[in-house]
Protein backbone atom coordinates (compact mmCIF):
# COMPACT_ATOMS: atom_id res chain seq x y z
CA UNK A 1 0.00 0.00 0.00
CA UNK A 2 1.21 3.51 -0.79
CA UNK A 3 2.56 5.27 2.30
CA UNK A 4 0.58 8.01 3.97
CA UNK A 5 2.13 11.07 5.54
CA UNK A 6 0.59 13.64 7.82
CA UNK A 7 1.87 17.05 8.82
CA UNK A 8 0.79 18.58 12.09
CA UNK A 9 0.13 22.15 10.97
CA UNK A 10 1.66 24.61 13.41
CA UNK A 11 -0.45 27.75 13.34
CA UNK A 12 -0.16 31.20 14.83
CA UNK A 13 -3.35 33.26 15.22
CA UNK A 14 -5.17 30.85 12.93
CA UNK A 15 -2.59 30.99 10.14
CA UNK A 16 -0.18 28.17 9.26
CA UNK A 17 3.45 29.05 9.93
CA UNK A 18 6.10 28.80 7.25
CA UNK A 19 7.50 25.59 8.74
CA UNK A 20 4.11 23.91 8.13
CA UNK A 21 4.41 24.55 4.40
CA UNK A 22 8.03 23.35 4.48
CA UNK A 23 6.95 20.05 6.06
CA UNK A 24 4.14 19.66 3.49
CA UNK A 25 6.68 20.06 0.69
CA UNK A 26 8.99 17.42 2.13
CA UNK A 27 6.09 15.03 2.78
CA UNK A 28 4.94 15.50 -0.86
CA UNK A 29 8.42 14.73 -2.13
CA UNK A 30 8.64 11.58 -0.02
CA UNK A 31 5.14 10.45 -0.96
CA UNK A 32 6.05 10.79 -4.62
CA UNK A 33 9.39 9.05 -4.26
CA UNK A 34 7.57 6.18 -2.53
CA UNK A 35 5.32 5.79 -5.53
CA UNK A 36 2.32 8.01 -4.99
CA UNK A 37 1.47 8.16 -1.33
CA UNK A 38 -0.83 10.74 0.14
CA UNK A 39 -0.21 13.73 2.40
CA UNK A 40 -2.63 14.91 5.05
CA UNK A 41 -2.55 18.03 7.16
CA UNK A 42 -3.76 17.98 10.75
CA UNK A 43 -4.85 21.33 12.17
CA UNK A 44 -5.60 21.80 15.87
CA UNK A 45 -7.55 24.78 17.15
CA UNK A 46 -8.61 28.01 15.45
CA UNK A 47 -8.02 28.14 11.69
CA UNK A 48 -8.72 31.13 9.44
CA UNK A 49 -11.27 30.61 6.66
CA UNK A 50 -8.69 30.67 3.86
CA UNK A 51 -6.22 28.31 5.52
CA UNK A 52 -7.56 24.90 4.43
CA UNK A 53 -7.31 26.04 0.81
CA UNK A 54 -3.78 27.32 1.41
CA UNK A 55 -2.72 24.02 3.00
CA UNK A 56 -4.14 22.17 -0.01
CA UNK A 57 -2.37 24.46 -2.46
CA UNK A 58 0.94 23.78 -0.71
CA UNK A 59 0.62 20.02 -0.79
CA UNK A 60 -2.11 18.59 1.47
CA UNK A 61 -4.47 16.01 -0.06
CA UNK A 62 -6.79 16.01 2.93
CA UNK A 63 -7.20 18.11 6.04
CA UNK A 64 -8.26 16.88 9.44
CA UNK A 65 -9.33 19.74 11.67
CA UNK A 66 -9.94 19.46 15.41
CA UNK A 67 -11.75 22.41 16.89
CA UNK A 68 -12.51 22.85 20.57
CA UNK A 69 -12.55 25.55 23.20
CA UNK A 70 -9.62 23.73 24.88
CA UNK A 71 -7.43 24.48 21.84
CA UNK A 72 -7.67 28.28 21.79
CA UNK A 73 -4.24 28.56 23.40
CA UNK A 74 -1.55 25.89 23.22
CA UNK A 75 -1.23 23.40 26.03
CA UNK A 76 0.63 20.11 25.71
CA UNK A 77 -2.16 18.11 27.31
CA UNK A 78 -5.05 19.44 25.18
CA UNK A 79 -3.01 19.38 21.97
CA UNK A 80 -1.85 15.85 22.68
CA UNK A 81 -5.47 14.70 23.09
CA UNK A 82 -6.46 16.55 19.93
CA UNK A 83 -3.56 15.13 17.92
CA UNK A 84 -4.47 11.65 19.09
CA UNK A 85 -8.09 12.16 17.98
CA UNK A 86 -6.98 13.49 14.59
CA UNK A 87 -4.57 10.59 14.08
CA UNK A 88 -7.44 8.18 14.73
CA UNK A 89 -9.08 9.71 11.67
CA UNK A 90 -6.03 10.31 9.45
CA UNK A 91 -4.15 7.08 10.31
CA UNK A 92 -0.85 8.11 8.67
CA UNK A 93 2.27 5.93 8.54
CA UNK A 94 4.43 8.95 9.31
CA UNK A 95 3.73 12.19 11.13
CA UNK A 96 5.80 15.37 10.86
CA UNK A 97 5.73 17.94 13.65
CA UNK A 98 7.70 21.21 13.62
CA UNK A 99 10.85 21.24 15.78
CA UNK A 100 9.72 24.52 17.35
CA UNK A 101 9.21 25.21 21.04
CA UNK A 102 5.62 24.05 20.65
CA UNK A 103 6.38 20.97 18.55
CA UNK A 104 9.27 19.89 20.76
CA UNK A 105 6.99 20.24 23.79
CA UNK A 106 4.17 18.22 22.25
CA UNK A 107 5.89 15.48 20.22
CA UNK A 108 7.46 13.47 23.09
CA UNK A 109 4.15 13.47 24.93
CA UNK A 110 2.31 12.22 21.85
CA UNK A 111 4.96 9.60 21.05
CA UNK A 112 4.85 8.28 24.63
CA UNK A 113 1.06 8.14 24.58
CA UNK A 114 1.01 6.17 21.32
CA UNK A 115 4.15 4.23 22.30
CA UNK A 116 5.82 4.98 18.97
CA UNK A 117 9.30 6.18 18.05
CA UNK A 118 10.16 9.86 17.74
CA UNK A 119 13.14 11.21 15.81
CA UNK A 120 13.76 14.78 16.96
CA UNK A 121 15.08 17.74 15.01
CA UNK A 122 15.43 16.00 11.65
CA UNK A 123 17.16 17.75 8.75
CA UNK A 124 16.74 15.14 6.01
CA UNK A 125 14.61 12.18 4.99
CA UNK A 126 14.76 9.37 2.47
CA UNK A 127 12.85 6.21 1.67
CA UNK A 128 15.12 3.17 1.74
CA UNK A 129 13.66 -0.24 0.91
CA UNK A 130 10.22 1.20 1.52
CA UNK A 131 11.19 2.45 5.00
CA UNK A 132 11.51 6.05 6.12
CA UNK A 133 15.00 7.00 7.29
CA UNK A 134 15.70 10.36 8.93
CA UNK A 135 18.94 12.29 9.26
CA UNK A 136 19.50 14.32 12.40
CA UNK A 137 22.38 16.17 14.01
CA UNK A 138 23.81 14.76 17.24
CA UNK A 139 26.31 16.38 19.63
CA UNK A 140 24.87 19.71 18.43
CA UNK A 141 26.01 19.04 14.89
CA UNK A 142 29.48 17.65 15.62
CA UNK A 143 28.11 14.51 13.92
CA UNK A 144 25.00 13.25 12.17
CA UNK A 145 23.07 10.04 12.69
CA UNK A 146 20.49 8.34 10.50
CA UNK A 147 17.62 6.71 12.35
CA UNK A 148 14.85 4.31 11.47
CA UNK A 149 11.68 3.33 13.29
CA UNK A 150 10.23 0.06 14.54
CA UNK A 151 7.00 -1.19 12.98
CA UNK A 152 4.83 0.82 15.40
CA UNK A 153 2.83 3.52 13.55
CA UNK A 154 2.88 6.38 13.05
CA UNK A 155 6.55 7.11 12.92
CA UNK A 156 6.91 10.59 14.38
CA UNK A 157 9.60 13.09 13.43
CA UNK A 158 10.10 16.70 14.41
CA UNK A 159 11.45 18.71 11.51
CA UNK A 160 13.86 21.60 11.90
CA UNK A 161 12.47 24.86 10.47
CA UNK A 162 14.24 26.48 7.49
CA UNK A 163 15.49 23.09 6.29
CA UNK A 164 13.11 22.42 3.39
CA UNK A 165 11.69 24.86 0.83
CA UNK A 166 7.90 25.25 0.66
CA UNK A 167 6.25 24.42 -2.67
CA UNK A 168 4.80 27.32 -4.65
CA UNK A 169 1.02 27.52 -4.24
CA UNK A 170 -0.82 25.46 -6.84
CA UNK A 171 -4.34 26.86 -7.22
CA UNK A 172 -5.52 23.66 -8.91
CA UNK A 173 -4.91 21.61 -5.77
CA UNK A 174 -7.93 21.14 -3.51
CA UNK A 175 -8.54 19.13 -0.35
CA UNK A 176 -11.53 18.15 1.68
CA UNK A 177 -11.76 19.22 5.33
CA UNK A 178 -12.77 16.54 7.81
CA UNK A 179 -13.84 17.76 11.25
CA UNK A 180 -13.02 15.80 14.36
CA UNK A 181 -14.56 16.48 17.76
CA UNK A 182 -12.55 16.57 20.96
CA UNK A 183 -13.77 15.60 24.36
CA UNK A 184 -12.88 17.98 27.17
CA UNK A 185 -9.28 17.56 28.33
CA UNK A 186 -8.15 18.18 31.89
CA UNK A 187 -5.30 20.65 31.46
CA UNK A 188 -3.00 20.73 34.48
CA UNK A 189 -0.33 23.08 33.07
CA UNK A 190 -1.86 26.25 31.62
CA UNK A 191 -0.29 29.21 29.83
CA UNK A 192 -1.39 32.34 31.68
CA UNK A 193 0.82 34.99 30.10
CA UNK A 194 3.54 35.89 27.65
CA UNK A 195 6.63 38.04 27.98
CA UNK A 196 7.87 39.43 24.70
CA UNK A 197 11.63 39.62 24.35
CA UNK A 198 13.41 42.85 23.45
CA UNK A 199 13.34 44.35 19.98
CA UNK A 200 11.81 43.25 16.72
CA UNK A 201 14.51 40.76 15.88
CA UNK A 202 13.62 37.32 14.58
CA UNK A 203 14.41 34.42 16.87
CA UNK A 204 17.93 33.01 16.46
CA UNK A 205 16.56 29.70 15.18
CA UNK A 206 14.57 31.49 12.48
CA UNK A 207 17.12 34.17 11.54
CA UNK A 208 18.63 34.45 8.10
CA UNK A 209 21.55 36.53 9.30
CA UNK A 210 23.11 36.38 12.77
CA UNK A 211 25.73 38.72 14.23
CA UNK A 212 27.27 37.28 17.42
CA UNK A 213 29.59 38.90 19.93
CA UNK A 214 32.04 37.26 22.28
CA UNK A 215 34.23 38.05 25.24
CA UNK A 216 35.99 40.72 23.19
CA UNK A 217 32.87 42.92 23.51
CA UNK A 218 34.12 43.69 27.06
CA UNK A 219 30.74 44.82 28.39
CA UNK A 220 27.04 45.28 27.62
CA UNK A 221 27.50 48.78 26.20
CA UNK A 222 29.68 47.60 23.31
CA UNK A 223 26.93 45.25 22.13
CA UNK A 224 25.38 48.48 20.77
CA UNK A 225 27.97 48.29 17.99
CA UNK A 226 26.60 44.89 17.01
CA UNK A 227 22.97 45.95 17.43
CA UNK A 228 23.59 48.73 14.92
CA UNK A 229 25.06 46.24 12.45
CA UNK A 230 22.04 43.96 13.08
CA UNK A 231 19.64 46.80 12.29
CA UNK A 232 21.37 47.55 9.01
CA UNK A 233 21.39 43.87 7.99
CA UNK A 234 18.01 42.88 9.47
CA UNK A 235 20.02 40.38 11.50
CA UNK A 236 19.50 38.76 14.90
CA UNK A 237 21.97 39.25 17.73
CA UNK A 238 23.78 36.21 19.11
CA UNK A 239 26.54 35.70 21.66
CA UNK A 240 29.14 33.28 22.93
CA UNK A 241 28.76 31.72 26.35
CA UNK A 242 31.58 33.92 27.66
CA UNK A 243 29.50 37.05 26.93
CA UNK A 244 26.36 35.47 28.41
CA UNK A 245 28.09 34.24 31.56
CA UNK A 246 29.61 37.68 32.08
CA UNK A 247 26.03 38.98 32.22
CA UNK A 248 26.39 41.30 29.23
CA UNK A 249 23.51 39.74 27.34
CA UNK A 250 20.60 37.39 28.12
CA UNK A 251 21.19 33.64 27.85
CA UNK A 252 18.48 33.35 25.19
CA UNK A 253 21.08 34.81 22.79
CA UNK A 254 23.68 32.10 23.43
CA UNK A 255 24.78 30.10 20.41
CA UNK A 256 26.45 26.72 20.88
CA UNK A 257 26.18 23.24 22.27
CA UNK A 258 24.45 24.49 25.42
CA UNK A 259 22.73 27.37 23.67
CA UNK A 260 20.91 27.62 20.38
CA UNK A 261 21.95 25.52 17.42
CA UNK A 262 21.54 27.79 14.41
CA UNK A 263 21.86 27.48 10.65
CA UNK A 264 21.45 30.93 9.09
CA UNK A 265 22.59 31.90 5.61
CA UNK A 266 25.20 34.22 7.13
CA UNK A 267 26.78 33.97 10.58
CA UNK A 268 29.10 36.80 11.61
CA UNK A 269 31.26 35.98 14.65
CA UNK A 270 32.76 39.08 16.23
CA UNK A 271 35.49 38.66 18.85
CA UNK A 272 34.69 34.98 19.33
CA UNK A 273 37.59 32.54 19.47
CA UNK A 274 35.68 29.52 18.13
CA UNK A 275 35.68 27.06 21.05
CA UNK A 276 34.42 23.61 20.13
CA UNK A 277 31.12 24.19 21.98
CA UNK A 278 30.51 27.40 20.05
CA UNK A 279 31.41 25.83 16.70
CA UNK A 280 29.00 22.97 17.39
CA UNK A 281 26.13 25.44 17.42
CA UNK A 282 26.88 27.38 14.25
CA UNK A 283 29.18 25.47 11.93
CA UNK A 284 26.35 24.40 9.63
CA UNK A 285 25.69 28.05 8.72
CA UNK A 286 25.98 28.55 4.97
CA UNK A 287 28.49 31.42 5.06
CA UNK A 288 30.56 32.11 8.17
CA UNK A 289 32.32 35.42 8.66
CA UNK A 290 34.88 35.90 11.43
CA UNK A 291 36.30 39.11 12.80
CA UNK A 292 39.12 38.51 15.25
CA UNK A 293 42.42 40.16 16.05
CA UNK A 294 44.19 36.81 16.47
CA UNK A 295 44.86 35.28 13.08
CA UNK A 296 45.35 31.86 14.70
CA UNK A 297 41.92 31.85 16.36
CA UNK A 298 40.13 28.55 15.62
CA UNK A 299 37.09 30.42 14.28
CA UNK A 300 39.09 31.15 11.11
CA UNK A 301 39.28 27.40 10.40
CA UNK A 302 35.53 27.29 9.75
CA UNK A 303 35.18 30.81 8.34
CA UNK A 304 34.25 31.33 4.69
CA UNK A 305 35.50 34.92 5.02
CA UNK A 306 37.41 36.66 7.73
CA UNK A 307 39.08 39.85 8.74
CA UNK A 308 42.08 39.83 11.05
CA UNK A 309 41.96 43.00 13.10
CA UNK A 310 40.43 45.03 15.89
CA UNK A 311 36.65 44.73 15.97
CA UNK A 312 36.31 48.25 17.37
CA UNK A 313 37.79 49.58 14.15
CA UNK A 314 36.27 47.07 11.75
CA UNK A 315 32.64 46.77 12.89
CA UNK A 316 31.81 50.50 12.50
CA UNK A 317 33.38 50.51 9.03
CA UNK A 318 31.50 47.36 8.10
CA UNK A 319 28.21 48.82 9.32
CA UNK A 320 28.84 51.98 7.34
CA UNK A 321 29.71 50.04 4.20
CA UNK A 322 26.66 47.74 4.43
CA UNK A 323 24.39 50.74 5.05
CA UNK A 324 25.83 52.39 1.93
CA UNK A 325 25.48 49.44 -0.44
CA UNK A 326 22.10 48.30 0.89
CA UNK A 327 20.71 51.82 0.42
CA UNK A 328 21.67 51.74 -3.28
Amino acid sequence: MAPTFAVLAETKDGVARKVTLEMLAEARRLAQSAGGGSVGAIALGPLDAGEPARLAQHGADRIVHVESASLTTYSAEAFCGAAQAALGQAKPDSLFIAATSQGKDLAPRLAARLRVGLASDCVGFEIRDGELVARRPIYAGKAFGRVSWSTARPRIATVRPNTFAALPADAARKAEVEKVALEAVNVRARVVGFEKSEGEMLDLTEANIIVSGGRAMQGPENFELLRRLCTVLGATLGASRAAVDAGWIDHSHQVGQTGKVVNPTVYIAVGISGAIQHLAGMSSSRTIVAINKDKDAPIFKVASYGIVGDLYQIVPKLTEEFAKVLRE
Partner: protein, 262 residues
Amino acid sequence: MNIVVFVKQVPDTETRIQLKDGVVDTSSVKWVANPYDEFAIEEGLRIRERLGQGKVTVVSLGPDRVKEAIKYALSLGADEGVHVKGDEVALSDPLAVATVLAAAARKLGFDLILTGKQGVDHDWSQVGVMLAEILDLPHVSVVVHLEVDPDAKKGKAKREVEGGAELLEFDLPAVITAQKGLNEPRYASLKGIMAVKKKVIPEWSPADLGLDPASLAEGAATIRFVDFALPPPRPAGRILEGDPADTARELVRLLREEAKVI
Protein backbone atom coordinates in the same frame (compact mmCIF):
# COMPACT_ATOMS: atom_id res chain seq x y z
CA MET B 1 8.67 17.52 49.49
CA ASN B 2 10.20 14.61 47.59
CA ILE B 3 12.14 15.84 44.58
CA VAL B 4 13.51 13.36 42.06
CA VAL B 5 16.15 14.63 39.64
CA PHE B 6 17.13 12.57 36.62
CA VAL B 7 20.72 12.93 35.53
CA LYS B 8 22.23 11.60 32.34
CA GLN B 9 25.93 11.08 31.92
CA VAL B 10 27.21 12.46 28.61
CA PRO B 11 30.57 13.10 26.92
CA ASP B 12 32.19 16.37 28.03
CA THR B 13 31.25 19.14 25.59
CA GLU B 14 34.99 19.56 24.87
CA THR B 15 34.91 16.17 23.14
CA ARG B 16 35.86 16.08 19.49
CA ILE B 17 33.52 13.47 18.03
CA GLN B 18 35.22 10.74 16.03
CA LEU B 19 33.91 7.62 14.36
CA LYS B 20 35.39 4.17 14.73
CA ASP B 21 33.97 1.20 12.85
CA GLY B 22 31.09 3.41 11.80
CA VAL B 23 29.97 4.40 15.29
CA VAL B 24 30.84 7.26 17.62
CA ASP B 25 34.06 6.36 19.42
CA THR B 26 33.54 6.88 23.15
CA SER B 27 36.66 5.00 24.28
CA SER B 28 38.60 8.12 25.32
CA VAL B 29 35.64 10.26 26.24
CA LYS B 30 35.56 12.14 29.52
CA TRP B 31 32.08 11.56 30.94
CA VAL B 32 30.29 14.31 32.81
CA ALA B 33 26.83 15.06 34.16
CA ASN B 34 24.72 16.53 31.37
CA PRO B 35 25.05 20.38 31.60
CA TYR B 36 21.26 20.93 31.59
CA ASP B 37 20.88 18.40 34.40
CA GLU B 38 23.14 20.59 36.53
CA PHE B 39 20.42 23.24 36.40
CA ALA B 40 17.88 20.57 37.41
CA ILE B 41 20.02 19.45 40.38
CA GLU B 42 20.62 23.03 41.49
CA GLU B 43 16.91 23.85 41.32
CA GLY B 44 16.10 20.78 43.41
CA LEU B 45 18.62 21.83 46.05
CA ARG B 46 17.34 25.40 46.08
CA ILE B 47 13.72 24.32 46.52
CA ARG B 48 14.73 22.10 49.43
CA GLU B 49 16.73 24.93 50.99
CA ARG B 50 13.94 27.45 50.47
CA LEU B 51 11.32 25.18 52.05
CA GLY B 52 13.66 24.14 54.83
CA GLN B 53 12.53 20.55 54.34
CA GLY B 54 12.38 17.85 51.73
CA LYS B 55 14.64 15.39 50.00
CA VAL B 56 16.48 15.44 46.69
CA THR B 57 17.07 12.03 45.12
CA VAL B 58 19.21 11.74 42.01
CA VAL B 59 18.65 8.87 39.58
CA SER B 60 20.76 7.88 36.60
CA LEU B 61 20.21 5.02 34.18
CA GLY B 62 23.21 3.49 32.46
CA PRO B 63 26.28 1.29 32.85
CA ASP B 64 28.56 1.46 35.92
CA ARG B 65 30.25 4.65 34.72
CA VAL B 66 27.10 6.68 35.48
CA LYS B 67 27.80 6.27 39.23
CA GLU B 68 30.26 9.15 38.79
CA ALA B 69 27.44 11.46 37.69
CA ILE B 70 25.42 10.39 40.74
CA LYS B 71 28.38 11.01 43.05
CA TYR B 72 28.84 14.43 41.51
CA ALA B 73 25.22 15.30 42.31
CA LEU B 74 25.67 13.96 45.85
CA SER B 75 28.76 16.12 46.29
CA LEU B 76 26.65 19.16 45.41
CA GLY B 77 24.22 18.29 48.19
CA ALA B 78 21.68 15.78 46.87
CA ASP B 79 20.44 13.55 49.70
CA GLU B 80 20.35 10.22 47.93
CA GLY B 81 21.36 8.62 44.67
CA VAL B 82 20.07 5.60 42.81
CA HIS B 83 21.82 3.81 39.98
CA VAL B 84 19.46 2.06 37.59
CA LYS B 85 21.51 -0.44 35.68
CA GLY B 86 21.23 -0.49 31.93
CA ASP B 87 23.61 -1.20 29.09
CA GLU B 88 24.24 1.07 26.10
CA VAL B 89 21.37 -0.56 24.20
CA ALA B 90 18.91 0.42 26.91
CA LEU B 91 20.12 4.01 26.56
CA SER B 92 19.56 4.29 22.84
CA ASP B 93 15.77 4.53 22.73
CA PRO B 94 14.31 7.57 24.57
CA LEU B 95 10.93 5.89 25.09
CA ALA B 96 12.61 2.87 26.69
CA VAL B 97 14.69 5.17 28.91
CA ALA B 98 11.59 7.11 29.95
CA THR B 99 9.75 3.86 30.71
CA VAL B 100 12.51 2.68 33.04
CA LEU B 101 12.91 6.06 34.72
CA ALA B 102 9.14 6.32 35.23
CA ALA B 103 9.20 2.98 37.03
CA ALA B 104 12.06 4.21 39.21
CA ALA B 105 10.11 7.39 40.02
CA ARG B 106 7.08 5.34 41.04
CA LYS B 107 9.18 3.21 43.32
CA LEU B 108 10.73 6.27 44.97
CA GLY B 109 7.59 8.38 45.24
CA PHE B 110 7.76 12.07 44.33
CA ASP B 111 6.11 15.48 44.50
CA LEU B 112 8.24 17.02 41.77
CA ILE B 113 10.42 15.60 38.99
CA LEU B 114 13.23 17.64 37.47
CA THR B 115 15.16 16.77 34.31
CA GLY B 116 17.37 18.62 31.86
CA LYS B 117 15.73 19.96 28.72
CA GLN B 118 18.05 17.86 26.57
CA GLY B 119 20.95 15.44 26.75
CA VAL B 120 23.84 17.06 24.89
CA ASP B 121 24.86 13.68 23.46
CA HIS B 122 22.07 12.59 21.13
CA ASP B 123 20.11 15.81 21.59
CA TRP B 124 16.80 13.92 21.73
CA SER B 125 14.97 16.37 24.05
CA GLN B 126 12.40 13.69 24.76
CA VAL B 127 12.84 11.85 28.04
CA GLY B 128 11.56 14.52 30.44
CA VAL B 129 8.28 15.11 28.62
CA MET B 130 7.82 11.38 28.00
CA LEU B 131 8.16 10.76 31.74
CA ALA B 132 5.27 13.15 32.34
CA GLU B 133 3.05 11.30 29.89
CA ILE B 134 3.92 7.85 31.23
CA LEU B 135 3.32 8.97 34.82
CA ASP B 136 0.18 10.91 33.83
CA LEU B 137 1.57 14.22 35.10
CA PRO B 138 1.53 17.75 33.72
CA HIS B 139 4.86 19.06 32.46
CA VAL B 140 6.52 22.34 31.62
CA SER B 141 9.56 22.12 29.35
CA VAL B 142 12.53 24.46 28.77
CA VAL B 143 11.96 26.25 32.08
CA VAL B 144 13.96 29.36 33.04
CA HIS B 145 12.07 30.26 36.22
CA LEU B 146 10.25 28.07 38.73
CA GLU B 147 8.18 28.55 41.89
CA VAL B 148 6.48 25.76 43.80
CA ASP B 149 4.00 25.81 46.64
CA PRO B 150 3.79 22.30 48.09
CA ASP B 151 0.93 23.19 50.47
CA ALA B 152 -1.32 24.41 47.69
CA LYS B 153 0.10 21.73 45.33
CA LYS B 154 0.63 24.41 42.70
CA GLY B 155 3.54 25.85 40.79
CA LYS B 156 4.44 28.64 38.40
CA ALA B 157 6.99 28.40 35.62
CA LYS B 158 8.41 30.51 32.87
CA ARG B 159 9.40 28.71 29.72
CA GLU B 160 11.48 29.97 26.81
CA VAL B 161 9.79 30.10 23.39
CA GLU B 162 10.50 31.86 20.09
CA GLY B 163 10.38 35.61 20.61
CA GLY B 164 9.84 35.54 24.36
CA ALA B 165 8.69 33.47 27.30
CA GLU B 166 5.42 31.81 28.28
CA LEU B 167 4.22 32.02 31.87
CA LEU B 168 2.47 28.90 33.12
CA GLU B 169 0.63 27.70 36.19
CA PHE B 170 0.60 24.00 36.90
CA ASP B 171 -0.57 21.42 39.43
CA LEU B 172 1.84 19.34 41.50
CA PRO B 173 3.14 16.72 41.08
CA ALA B 174 4.67 17.69 37.75
CA VAL B 175 7.71 17.25 35.53
CA ILE B 176 9.90 20.27 34.83
CA THR B 177 12.70 20.26 32.24
CA ALA B 178 15.47 22.74 32.97
CA GLN B 179 16.92 25.28 30.54
CA LYS B 180 20.01 27.44 31.04
CA GLY B 181 19.01 30.58 32.93
CA LEU B 182 16.96 28.69 35.54
CA ASN B 183 19.74 29.24 38.09
CA GLU B 184 23.49 29.38 38.55
CA PRO B 185 24.71 25.90 39.56
CA ARG B 186 26.96 25.76 42.62
CA TYR B 187 30.32 24.05 42.89
CA ALA B 188 30.91 21.03 45.08
CA SER B 189 32.19 21.91 48.54
CA LEU B 190 34.93 19.92 50.26
CA LYS B 191 32.37 18.87 52.86
CA GLY B 192 30.09 17.68 50.09
CA ILE B 193 32.85 15.67 48.45
CA MET B 194 33.74 14.04 51.79
CA ALA B 195 30.10 13.23 52.47
CA VAL B 196 29.80 11.23 49.23
CA LYS B 197 32.20 8.62 50.58
CA LYS B 198 29.69 7.67 53.27
CA LYS B 199 26.75 7.35 50.91
CA VAL B 200 25.58 4.00 49.61
CA ILE B 201 24.22 4.14 46.08
CA PRO B 202 21.66 1.36 45.63
CA GLU B 203 21.60 -0.44 42.29
CA TRP B 204 18.30 -1.30 40.75
CA SER B 205 17.82 -3.48 37.72
CA PRO B 206 14.83 -3.10 35.38
CA ALA B 207 13.55 -6.39 36.83
CA ASP B 208 13.65 -4.81 40.34
CA LEU B 209 11.35 -2.19 38.89
CA GLY B 210 8.92 -4.79 37.61
CA LEU B 211 9.96 -4.37 33.99
CA ASP B 212 10.47 -7.16 31.51
CA PRO B 213 14.12 -7.01 30.36
CA ALA B 214 12.98 -8.15 26.90
CA SER B 215 11.09 -4.88 26.56
CA LEU B 216 14.46 -3.10 26.77
CA ALA B 217 16.31 -5.31 24.31
CA GLU B 218 17.54 -3.93 21.00
CA GLY B 219 14.69 -5.42 18.98
CA ALA B 220 12.09 -3.68 21.15
CA ALA B 221 13.39 -0.14 20.51
CA THR B 222 10.94 2.22 18.81
CA ILE B 223 13.78 4.08 17.16
CA ARG B 224 17.40 3.23 16.43
CA PHE B 225 20.46 4.65 14.73
CA VAL B 226 21.29 3.07 11.38
CA ASP B 227 24.60 4.83 10.81
CA PHE B 228 26.66 7.90 11.65
CA ALA B 229 28.60 10.47 9.67
CA LEU B 230 30.76 13.49 10.37
CA PRO B 231 29.85 16.82 8.79
CA PRO B 232 31.80 17.52 5.60
CA PRO B 233 34.88 19.70 6.21
CA ARG B 234 34.42 23.34 5.32
CA PRO B 235 36.52 24.62 2.42
CA ALA B 236 39.31 27.04 3.34
CA GLY B 237 38.11 30.61 3.65
CA ARG B 238 39.34 34.00 2.41
CA ILE B 239 41.00 35.75 5.32
CA LEU B 240 41.66 39.47 4.84
CA GLU B 241 44.29 41.53 6.61
CA GLY B 242 45.19 45.20 6.44
CA ASP B 243 43.50 48.57 6.73
CA PRO B 244 40.10 48.31 8.49
CA ALA B 245 38.26 50.46 5.93
CA ASP B 246 39.69 48.53 2.98
CA THR B 247 39.09 45.09 4.43
CA ALA B 248 35.55 46.03 5.48
CA ARG B 249 34.78 47.25 1.97
CA GLU B 250 36.29 44.12 0.44
CA LEU B 251 34.32 41.86 2.79
CA VAL B 252 31.04 43.54 1.83
CA ARG B 253 31.92 43.12 -1.85
CA LEU B 254 32.75 39.42 -1.41
CA LEU B 255 29.54 38.72 0.49
CA ARG B 256 27.48 40.42 -2.20
CA GLU B 257 29.27 39.46 -5.39
CA GLU B 258 31.02 36.16 -4.64
CA ALA B 259 28.90 34.49 -1.97
CA LYS B 260 25.77 36.43 -3.04
CA VAL B 261 24.28 36.11 0.43
CA ILE B 262 23.61 39.75 1.37
